[in-house]
């Protein structure tokens, strides 16, 4: 299989503009005859469904939550990047492009990244027009703040709830279209498979999570905006319901899965406090603007109250190791350094499983410099959240933080049009692999989700519809019936095993294994061990799973079982990809490949490509395909933030 990126050539500044002109359009009067399915209602899916509806297409939108407003984009805190250069501090579209390619450790496609940077400015305009209450200065103009991996202030924010406000903007636009009758909303519906007819994506099979009804929905094109797969680790900052099922099912139907080992571990999360823990909570990276990260210099001080440790006994290790970026180094570096410190026995907080996994994030100096009120204005809700979870007051005692899985850069492979290797199947937002390479910079996920949803997919989906015969298959089509039957059969299988273990118990076991062997640092022996262990867990899952109740009712155990089954397959592919990529880059750190200072050591000669994996059948090894990456504009160098 040859992977065609379909990216335009020529000057990068005009690629998207030229491509837009070359794409085919659908006449306004014909649009309502085209049906498009959008799965997921986060920033990418919500924005897309609203935009396509407004343009006159017949849209069906799906989400597993009870309302589209609850998609996990809502939890993004810090902000959204845009190259507006309102601060007159040297920002430009080109600089945002440059920072993103470099931040991604040279594993993203230049054309896509440039387009993202270019569209960033339109996103802010769009959101302000929708009434998103971004932070403003006393002049009434928009405010900005700085973020990791950049030396300019280009991040727009709405207190610590930027994702919420952006999502509500998209949600409101979506509900407006529901009211107008252009979008039909299916809440509490979970996509359980993709329907491919004559080589084209033509629909999905869903389960109504209240009645249990299994149904086929058919359309001319299908778009998955279903988020990332971070919950493969069980403990992550993702919402509990986030899962890989939609993309994994599409993968099994022919969509290649790209760079699954590129996962992001976010440096500023609240440390694990016990075995009962169900998820991890992120504290926005924006906190690193004013908070200083440190550990005690001496291991005997780790149990001392932090305020009793004098300045000279503290190691502000990020400021020491990276004087120019200091506490604002990119996420992968900040995470790995925290792990190093804890591995050296300098971690703080409660010991869980014999190790203290935490470092301090201290606001003492910020409170002294800015005053408590200014700090409260910037981070008030985050401090409150921290206090609620830990019972400690961060104005008085330094926060304790530790890295946690947060985002997955890998995802379904897509071309420049965001179309997967299955014609008619498009993928937007975190669900695709496209823009962040091996590491995503802070405040770029919201930017990508909205760029895909508002400004890229509406064009590229239309271009596909304009050139493709409309769907003619209905419920009676043999292929549609076959997919519906296979979904029903799988559900019956979950219910009929009647073993002893809950879906969560398998999920925890898998998550712990993946975190240990394929988390912040990976090595050959560990990955090989994981590749032996995962099939064993999977085998036990299919023999000893217990799901009570029936398929014809709200059954949360059944929902979990399906998701865990897919994580058990994805986890194996992740480890395989991590083993295959014999280099370190971004979030993928192979211990065998590091510089003397312990920084990631890329191997551009042998690994400057996207690894896209093809499903070849159960029990058969995946086949890898390579998309070579070329860097015409930003020349690969070793990233340095020193």
């Amino acid at each position: 299989m040859e992977l065609k990126a379909n990216a335009p050539s020529g000057p990068i500044e005009t690629r998207w503009e030229r491509h837009r002109f070359e794409m085919k359009l659908v006449n306004p009067a014909n649009r309502r005859k085209h049906k498009v399915i959008v799965v997921g209602t986060g920033l990418a899916g919500g924005a897309l469904a609203a935009t396509l509806g407004e343009q006159g297409y017949n849209v069906a939108a799906f989400c597993y939550q009870d309302s589209p407003r609850r998609a996990h984009s809502i939890a993004a805190q810090g902000g959204i990047n845009a190259a507006k250069n309102y601060q007159n501090d040297g920002d430009s579209v080109y600089r945002l492009f440059y920072d993103t390619v470099k931040g991604g450790d040279f594993r993203a496609r230049e054309s896509n990244v440039y387009r993202l940077a270019e569209l960033s400015v339109n996103i802010i305009d769009q959101c302000v027009a929708q009434g998103v209450p971004f932070a403003r200065e006393y002049s009434g103009l928009l405010a900005n703040r700085s973020f990791g991996g950049a030396q300019v202030s280009r991040t727009f924010y709405a207190r610590g709830q930027t994702g919420q406000q952006l999502l509500l903007g998209a949600y409101q636009a979506l509900e407006r279209q529901v009211n107008a009758g252009t979008v039909t909303m299916f809440s509490r519906h979970e996509m359980l498979d993709l329907i491919v007819v004559d080589g084209r994506a033509r629909g999905i099979v869903t389960r109504d999570m209240v009645s249990g009804k299994i149904e086929a929905h058919l359309a001319d094109a299908v778009v998955l905006c279903t988020g990332g797969y971070g919950n493969v680790f069980y403990l992550s900052t993702n919402a509990k319901g986030c899962n890989v099922t939609a993309t994994w099912r599409a993968h099994r139907k022919g969509a290649l899965f790209a760079n699954p080992c590129f996962t992001q571990i976010h440096p500023t999360c609240i440390p694990v406090s016990g075995e009962f823990q169900s998820k991890l909570t992120l504290m926005s990276e924006s906190l690193r603007n004013d908070g200083r990260v440190w550990v005690p210099k001496r291991a005997e001080d780790v149990t001392k109250p932090p305020n009793q440790i004098p300045e000279e006994d503290r190691d502000y290790y990020l400021e020491r190791l990276y004087p120019s970026f200091g506490n604002l180094v990119p996420r992968d570096i900040a995470s790995r350094r925290a792990k190093d410190m804890c591995d050296k026995g300098l971690g703080v907080g409660t010991a869980v499983g014999g190790q203290r996994l935490g470092v301090y994030l201290d606001f003492k100096d910020a409170v002294k410099r800015l005053g408590r009120k200014a700090v409260e204005e910037r981070y008030g809700n985050l401090f409150e959240m921290y206090e609620r979870i830990t019972g400690e007051d961060p104005y008085e005692v330094p926060m304790r933080i530790y890295p946690a899985t947060h985002y997955t850069m890998g995802g379904l492979w897509v071309d420049y049009n965001l179309m997967s290797t299955v014609p008619g199947l498009f993928v937007g937002g975190e669900a695709n692999f496209s823009d962040h390479g091996a590491n995503r910079l802070g405040a770029s996920a919201l930017m990508q989700g909205l760029a895909d949803g508002y400004f890229v997919l509406p064009y590229t989906v239309a271009n596909y519809l304009a050139q493709t015969p409309r769907n003619t298959a209905d419920d009676t089509h043999a292929e549609v019936r076959a997919v519906v039957d296979s979904v029903k059969e799988r559900i019956n299988k979950f219910l009929s095993i009647q073993g002893k273990r809950s879906p969560d118990s398998f999920h925890r076991e898998l998550g712990k294994l993946i975190w240990d062997k394929c988390g912040m640092a990976r090595n050959k022996a560990g990955l090989e061990k994981a590749l032996q262990e995962i099939p064993r867990i999977r085998e036990e899952f299919w023999e000893n799973l217990y799901v009570p109740g029936s398929g014809e009712e709200l059954n949360q155990s059944l929902e979990k079982a399906g998701r865990v089954a897919d994580f058990l397959e994805l986890g194996e592919l992740m480890c395989r990809d991590a083993l295959f990529r014999e280099e370190s880059c971004g979030g993928h750190f192979r211990e065998e490949h590091q510089t003397e200072e312990g920084e990631a050591k890329r191997d551009d000669e042998n690994f400057q490509f996207v690894a896209a994996w093809e499903f070849k059948g159960d029990g058969v090894e995946h086949q890898v395909h390579r998309e070579a990456l070329e860097f015409e504009y930003v020349k690969p160098t070793q990233r340095s933030y020193k």
Binding site: R70, I389, K500
Partner: protein
């Protein structure tokens, strides 16, 4: 030293919308004070699964207090005893060892029970559909800084926009009114210059939908504000009333035949 608690729970179990529900007693043993209330229920559910019983169904997702999915009445309080806190952020250190905890779903005619603690809040989405938006077309937005908005006004709009749509205000209200929810959305959009052109139709349509969904009327108990996990103020209800009255008055004037 970490404390652990033993608790007695009385949880509302109801098979589906039409079934008759009842409280069922469970024991929750050895619960860490650092666990959230939902993590406590997770542990109870794992225990039920071990015994081959059906777990307690409840809505939840982000577990960070922002998605608005979770919500239940705990000991008579929407989202439990701690102020400005969703139930996913309510930690067991708020309870005493040996305490009895009563847990039930939101109770409102406009929120039918789906199962156990899960309710259908589609009525809130329909209120937004009626007018909780600014009709701006993708791509037609003017340059963002061409319309300055006074910081005070923008901050005030934000205070209202912080609503997470959990429905606690409805559950806490003796009349099961959705006034705080509706008021927050109307205030967010009507305070901003971008929301000005649709200000009157927005408030009229949203209030009409709220009534059509079977929510009750506001009789100034202010329980909604007490229960709201995002501190949304009842002052927005006063604003909603003003907006609604003037919008209605303006609409009547327009309808009146002009004298020649």
């Amino acid at each position: 030293m970490e404390k652990s608690l033993n608790l007695v729970l009385h949880v509302w179990r109801q098979k589906n919308r039409d079934a008759k529900g009842q409280f069922v007693r469970y024991e929750a043993k050895n619960i860490s004070e650092h666990a959230s209330l939902l993590e406590m229920l997770d542990q109870v559910n794992e225990g039920l699964l071990e015994k081959g019983e059906e777990p307690i169904a409840f809505d939840h997702d982000c577990r960070e207090g922002i998605c608005g999915a979770c919500g239940m009445i705990v000991n008579g309080h929407a989202h439990g005893p701690r102020k400005a806190t969703t139930v996913c952020q309510l930690h067991m250190r708020e309870f005493q060892d040996g305490e009895e905890i009563w847990i039930e779903p939101w109770r409102a005619a406009a929120f039918p029970v789906v199962r156990d603690l899960v309710v259908d809040r589609g009525s809130l989405d329909r209120i937004v559909q009626a007018g909780g938006f600014i009709s701006t077309r993708t791509g037609s937005a003017p340059e963002a800084n061409s319309l300055p908005v006074a910081k005070e006004k923008s901050d005030r709009a934000f205070d209202a926009a912080a609503c997470i749509g959990c429905g606690a205000c409805v559950a806490a209200c003796p009349n099961a009114a959705a006034m705080l929810f509706t008021a927050a959305k109307v205030a967010h959009l009507n305070l901003l210059p971008q929301g000005e052109p649709e200000r009157d139709t927005r408030v009229r349509n949203m209030v009409a939908q709220m009534d059509a969904e079977g929510f009750g009327h506001c009789t100034n108990h202010y329980e909604c504000m007490e229960a709201c996990p995002k501190h949304i103020s009842v002052e927005f209800i006063a604003q909603l009333n003003r907006e609604f009255m003037s919008a209605t008055a303006r609409a009547r004037q327009e309808l009146r035949p002009r004298r020649k």
